[in-house]
């Protein structure tokens, strides 16, 4: 948590609150916020209690020296699953604490708090983030997802279980939307139904398309003569190449709309094309003289008439 080993308790509390806000998965934009948030929560769970703090100092040090056969902590960078409740002050069970931590202090130090007990017959919902490409939203996709969760083993001790789920991403999903997988959340502690798994969809940034909701846009370069004379050009879309008619006399910045060619959501989005006139890198002498002839011919055209100059 970035505080000194001998920091007073109230300093720990302040540092914790600040970090909790910073890394809360609903607030933070950082990719590893879930893991960081969990770590901060664990650290505070220990540090807020002077006795545990002493135990952790000691055992933590032993573990680092590789003694006592302690299991190494799980790889905190992989596996995205996180639970809502693994936190100080929440009345949920301890699923989600890391292995190392759970083996030190057992399933959720502090235990249940009364208020949530009635709902505990059903397992907790889990959440994970899934990154997909824009093309996946057009065609649908499948993903293999590794989820780790802490469950109570047969001997009553918590153990980490890794599940691999092959999930189907439905066609037409938009950025920020959530997919619910029924019964794929945490198993119930009391033998009831398992919770649901919610997958939040994020898009990988695309090299040529921009996405806004269900609309997709593309900047399309055209030559000066295509702009003047009109043309039929090939245009890439996430669904494949299409032929586009550039109208006669198209100016740079002109926006064209292809209705219904955005993300095929329930209400399909549109595909927008913004034209941009680009010049060749080099002009031959012949080309240059042709431009000069054009300049002479069209000398009366003032493109800055609107600016009053």
């Amino acid at each position: 948590m970035g505080i000194k080993k001998d920091a007073p308790q109230d300093e720990i509390k302040r540092a914790y609150r600040k970090l909790a806000r910073k890394y809360h998965p609903d607030v933070s934009k950082e990719k590893d916020s879930e893991e960081r948030f969990k770590e901060v929560g664990e650290a505070y769970e220990v540090l807020k209690d002077p006795e545990k703090r002493a135990a952790y100092d000691q055992l933590g040090a032993n573990w680092k020296a590789g003694q006592n056969g302690f299991q190494p902590p799980p790889d905190w960078d992989s596996g995205f699953e996180f639970h809502g409740g693994e936190f100080t002050g929440g009345g949920e069970n301890g699923a989600g604490f890391s292995d190392f931590f759970s083996s030190l202090f057992g399933q959720r130090a502090g235990g249940f708090q009364g208020t949530h007990q009635a709902q505990h017959t059903q397992g907790e919902d889990s959440r994970a983030k899934v990154f997909i490409d824009l093309e996946d939203a057009y065609h649908g996709a499948s993903r293999s997802l590794s989820l780790r969760s802490t469950v109570l083993g047969k001997d009553g001790r918590p153990e980490v279980q890794t599940r691999t789920l092959n999930i189907k991403i439905p066609k037409g999903v938009k950025e920020g939307q959530n997919i619910r997988l029924k019964g794929q959340g945490s198993p119930s502690v009391a033998g009831g139904k398992a919770g649901d798994l919610y997958l939040k969809i994020e898009f990988n940034p695309h090299s040529i398309y921009k996405v806004e909701g269900s609309d997709v846009s593309l900047e399309l370069s055209i030559s000066p003569w295509e702009a003047v004379l009109g043309a039929k050009v090939k245009v890439p879309t996430p669904a494949g190449k299409i032929d586009l008619k550039i109208p006669l006399g198209a100016s740079s910045g002109k926006r064209m709309r292809l209705k219904g060619r955005g993300i095929p959501a329930k209400i399909a989005g549109d595909f927008f094309i913004t034209l941009e006139i680009v010049l060749p890198d080099k002009l031959s002498d012949k080309e240059k003289s042709l431009y000069e002839a054009l300049q002479k011919e069209a000398g009366s055209f003032n493109p800055r008439a609107k600016l009053g100059v």
């Binding site: 909790a20 998965p25 609903d26 890794t162 189907k168 959530n178 806004e212």
Partner: protein, 108 residues
Amino acid sequence: MGNEVINIVSGVIVEEGESVSFSSLCRYCSVPAEQVISMVDQGIIEPIESQVKSTYWQFSGGSIIRVQEAIRLQRDLGVNLPGTALALELLDEVKALRQQVSSLQRDC
């Protein structure tokens, strides 16, 4: 460490799903009805038709996500309900602004 492979599972897009009743919303989010009512009062979620009696309320699929988010903010950060409503609105705004920034950056 058990490692089991489960067959392909498919889910539903919550936001595009059919509307949910008041009681289903409470069930999906594991919250008591009173808490949902107070979230409606704060404008965190809105019933599709607010004129009808609360027992007949229907909510959009996205309300499930919104309520869950609100619960997490309250529980994890100790924000009260009006604070949660404010945080959610500001988060929406931040999200929209970030999107604008990234689309502007790519124009340069």
